[in-house]
Amino acid sequence: MYLKSLLWAASTTALMAGAASAETITIATVNNGDMIRIQKYTDKFTEATGHEVEWVTLEENVLRQRVTTDISTKGGQFDIMTIGMYETPIWGANGWLVPLDDLSAEYDVDDILPAMRGGLSHDGTLYAAPFYGESSMVMYRTDLMEKAGLEMPEAPTWQFIREAAAKMTDRENDINGICLRGKAGWGEGGAFITVTANSFGARWFDEDWKPQFDQPEWKEALTFFVDMMNESGPAGYATNGFNENLSLFQQGKCGMWIDATVAASFVTNPNDSTVADKVGFALAPNSEGVDKRANWLWAWALAIPAGTQKEDAAKQFIEWATSKDYIELVAENEGWANVPPGARQSLYDNPNYKDIPFAQMTLKSILAADPENCCVKPTPYTGIQFVAIPEFAGIATQVSQEFSAVYAGQQSVDEALAKAQAFTAEEMEAAGY
């Protein structure tokens, strides 16, 4: 009798839980290809769980401003936020995010690439699940490389890249040897020059949080970058970011492009790219003799703001969206080249994915990146192309604006570095370091 009533109680609670859980969750996300694609498949999630999903899709900068305002004021507008590796550890430390430490066994959290998991954790607790991840690598035109009489090694140096770029450049035919980001903004040109500097042995801060722009490594890296771009880069590269370079490369106007690994699926897509069948891949370069490559590490990840009423439904969604099954679902419908890359080891073990030309180089690039040890010299911070402290976004945007002014020929390398040093020191002091 006792047992029976207990069972009865249990089953009714289960039923009630089931009924109560038909919720509508609101997700803020970025307008990148993979994030747009998942919106088409949300119906499958609703079918399986009964939860409805509302998407708020915004451009990256607007998204950042929107979700940061909301979470820091506890506005509660979103049940899931799409955030990156920069925000996650900071917000996690503030207790703003729901820890993702009770994901189901089926989800197989250990399958997530260790670098990604590390970058999305604070104190060993995972706060955001990676939807897709990326590093950076060299994409180059095999035909132009051949014409230049060179062969791209798997792990090139900056010196080789510069030489190859000069040889591939053909101003008459509108071909630039190399296209790189110069656009101001910490996530655009700022990220690129930071990894470049890392691969010349530089770092943002020393162990005492002193800015390092007055050190020779930064000068060497920046001078090298500017000289190479002036020799072989496109006109007006000071305003080029990911998108601008992507369209240049797709139009066949770049010999090489060093940028996010996710770009590989765009440049090899014959629908958009005029050079789809002539693209090769290599690891991001290092300066000769420096034991760090210009690899960054980034993930767009899904996190749940603390305080949401719909935590369970949100967790269900995150488990679904970042699962192995979702990858299978996309592969079935759109082909393996279009699955969200860079998050799970199992994807790279999958024989179907091995045929994708850029798969292995993407994995190698991600594995080459270590957010705990960005630089040759020791640092007090985590993050590779960023420093995971709240002040960084503001500082780095301003610093990268100074660098972009160098790219545009408006000031010298020395002037920019001096300004960057002074400004960063001032900001760090004000922040109490």
Binding site: T26, N32, V56, T57, E59, G75, N243, D272
Partner: protein, 276 residues
Amino acid sequence: MARTVTTPRKLINTAFAWAVGLLIFFPILWTILTSFKTEAQAIASPPIFLNFDWTLENYAVVQERSNYTRFLWNSIIIAGGSTLLGVIVAVPAAWAMAFVPSARTKDILLWMLSTKMLPAVGVLYPIYLLFIQLGLLDSRAGLVVVLMLINLPIIVWMLYTYFREIPGDILEAARMDGATLKEEILYILTPMAVPGIASTVLLNFILAWNEAFWTLNLTAVDAAPLTAFIASYSSPEGLFFAKLSAASTMAIAPILILGWFSQKQLVRGLTFGAVK
């Protein structure tokens, strides 16, 4: 004021004015054209003007991706609501200023305008916190109120300048005949002020429609208007000119059409009392 000019002179005028008009209009025209191209054609070099394969693909993609009608509906309600509310508040104020002017009328008017100079970015946090307290986040009501407040000074000023043009003698005469204040407003003032109110409504509808800071930052799903719709198409990863053009065309088309049909009223409205 019919002026007679020679035909050649008129011809030259026409040609020149059309050239300038098309030049100014060209960016919009180009956006509309681009929205019918494929992404590859959109960045083709040299650029293609008309001889491309016209396609509706971009519109189909945009339509599939976002619920355009919801954004549109929100834009209409927010812009319309804030304008309506603004006019309701402003008409009595402007009437009082125009017909019962005091020494401080001008000061009050200019003070009202100066409230528009508060930089929105600087007060985002205070307003956001306030909206949380009042439960107004992502609500159309909240936005209607904010946009009304933003545009209220302009509305008051525009109406004030119209009302001032209405000769006070007529009102005086009406009052002599025993018309009450209500009748005065309803039967005399309103008919004379209708053109002015119409143009005020139009201008403010446009201003509210295009407001992109508060409408973006205070909404999420339920109240998001077309400015938020545009924010989901600007600079994504990948090629995007054609789709961006399609989205832009969809965002500006309603207001453009409205503006064109009502441009006569608008022209009348934009005098701000500049004409005596």
